[in-house]
């Protein structure tokens, strides 16, 4: 029982840390199509500016969740499985482990590649890559333990931590060599699994950060005041995320499914659900003046 409480405390601490709006995860430069949406006059279709923002958040969230969460899930599963394999073997770097790591890296690369072929919008691709790579950097600079703080680790988890660090470093190196893109949902799944946050919480937090990013963008665009944005976040966004989670958290990309089982892509796989949002997001760069990058 006490170990469950310990786990909960640890996860709560990870959540608090990752939800910090000061983390350099790119939300300050991304509006995920909101700026373009406003500029094209679509706010006029809602009863108020506030409702326009709520509706945008809702439609954007729906499509993003359906597209990205399967990738978060599969990346998380890959890294978590690798993590427990390392824990069970309790070995130092052996041939076996090297081989396992190569396999995991290959699978992550395939996931990243699939996300790229499914994100057919150059603006969204650009934003996703820059935020994903920022997360990898965040992990190595902000979360991997420096030797100066090694006294704070239990010795038994040291090996596991090192393996996680090596895995993410290797992926980051591949991104730098342009062998992978480093898309946001894949990197998010990796980061949260490496930190030991469970999958459902990782997915939930990912959606929360997407929505909060949109609301901060709305404030920066001077559409909503900071208090109004806070009200929307507190009252409207929570049930929206909960509803999306209910219907989408079980979806997968289909890449990790073993050939024996049937993966019904139309009901279980990723999909874009908002073609209008896709067009507006892609038109971001056509704006005569703009303050965001996406």
């Amino acid at each position: 029982m006490s170990s469950t409480n310990d786990n909960n405390d640890t996860e709560a601490y990870i959540l608090l840390t990752l939800a910090d709006s000061n983390l350099p995860t790119g939300a300050f430069v991304a509006s995920s199509g909101l700026e373009s949406h406003v500029k094209h006059g679509f706010s006029s279709l809602s009863s108020s500016v506030e409702m326009a923002t709520v509706n945008f958040v809702r439609d954007s969230l729906g499509s993003y969740a359906r597209t990205a969460l399967p990738f978060v899930a599969d990346a998380h599963i890959l890294v978590s499985n690798y993590c427990s394999a390392v824990e069970q073997s309790r070995l130092q770097e052996t041939g076996e482990q090297m081989k396992e790591r190569t396999n995991v890296l290959k699978a992550l690369t395939d996931l990243d590649e699939l996300y790229h072929t499914m994100t057919l919008n150059h603006v969204a691709r650009r934003a996703s890559i820059s935020q994903g790579v920022a997360l990898l950097t965040l992990y190595s600079k902000g979360f991997a333990r420096p030797s100066s703080l090694s006294a704070f680790t239990a010795t038994e988890s040291q090996g596991q931590e090192d393996q996680m660090k090596n895995l993410l470093e290797a992926f980051k190196l591949k991104a730098r060599r342009e062998e992978v893109f480093g898309h946001l949902p894949v990197c998010w799944g990796m980061l949260t699994a490496a930190l030991g946050l469970n999958l459902e919480r990782a997915q939930y937090l990912h959606l929360f950060l997407h929505c909060r990013g949109l609301l901060s963008a709305s404030v920066r665009l001077n559409d909503l005041g900071p208090y109004a944005a806070q009200q929307v976040l507190f009252h409207a966004v929570q049930p929206l995320i909960a509803t999306e989670m209910d219907s989408i958290k079980h979806l997968r990309t289909g890449l990790l499914v073993d050939p024996q089982t049937i993966f019904d892509e139309p009901s279980q796989g990723p999909a874009n659900t908002w073609p209008l949002g896709e067009i507006l997001a892609a038109r971001h760069d056509l704006q005569h003046s703009r303050i965001f990058n996406s």
Binding site: D264, T273, P275, L276, R283
Partner: protein, 321 residues
Amino acid sequence: MDSFPAKIHSGTGRITLTLHSDKATLAELSSTYPLKLLSPYIQRHIAIVYLLTYGGGLVCGNYPPYFLHKTSRTETINAQGTTKVFKTRPGHRLASVLPKPGIESQHISSSKSSQFTSQHLHFRVHPGSSLLLLPDPVTCFRNASYQQIQKFNVEGDGSLVLLDWITPGRISIGEEWAFSRYYSLNEVWHDGKCIAKDVQLLEGSEESDDPASTTRHRIPQRTLQDRLRPYGCYAMIILYGPQVQPILEDLEARYAQETVFKTRTPSELIWSLSPIGALKAGGIVRVAGLEADLVKRWLKGALSGIEAHMVGRDIYRRVFP
């Protein structure tokens, strides 16, 4: 994925186009009820094939999709399709879609007993040849559930133009975005590598059959129409390969002239262009317009490079009169 079953099941068909001394020949054009393939037009190295479904209680057929193939050298193009139905009545099966080996269509049964209509098309575009798939828009009627899966294998310097579009229903009787589900998957492969996978899913907001979920999270209804307003037609075009380069250049030039200043209300048509594949090998265009006619007129202009560089006036006017 390239092995097409030899046996033809109900509602399936095959097309193989070959070239004999600069003249296109349909080496194979076979289909089984209720699918019908027609090829009224073969001229030099170009063949048009119309794909239609009819009869048998199918609530469809008023929008026959058609496509045309062009080969420039000795090439074959294979296609395979299944039935297509536009209305779902829970508990009633209007037409059967038989799962086929290799190209499987299997419905993982949900809690509801509803059936859906499904169409699968697989194409192989050989080196030097071009495939243009230019159907009329899909129109899903009230409560329809439609699923379309199209896969394209482009080889070598083969080229592809693919149009996929949807209208909201029978607008004349007030039916707008009233279908229950529309799923469209387009996958383009080039020499064994997937270069684009576009998956669109449009679902009406469900009357939830799980009372627990509605009481737990109270959110106001937002219909499909709310999400897609003010537009009444959405189109997606994928262009890929050396033959489409002049068309892509036209589109890029048009796109470069678009500038967005802040407006109060949405314009009647908007579109976007993004590159796909390595080294500008292809592009994807998305269009939204107030109504289908407007989008069709726009397409006719924007894709006019097809007329000039690929098929000529006669054929182009059959598609865009």
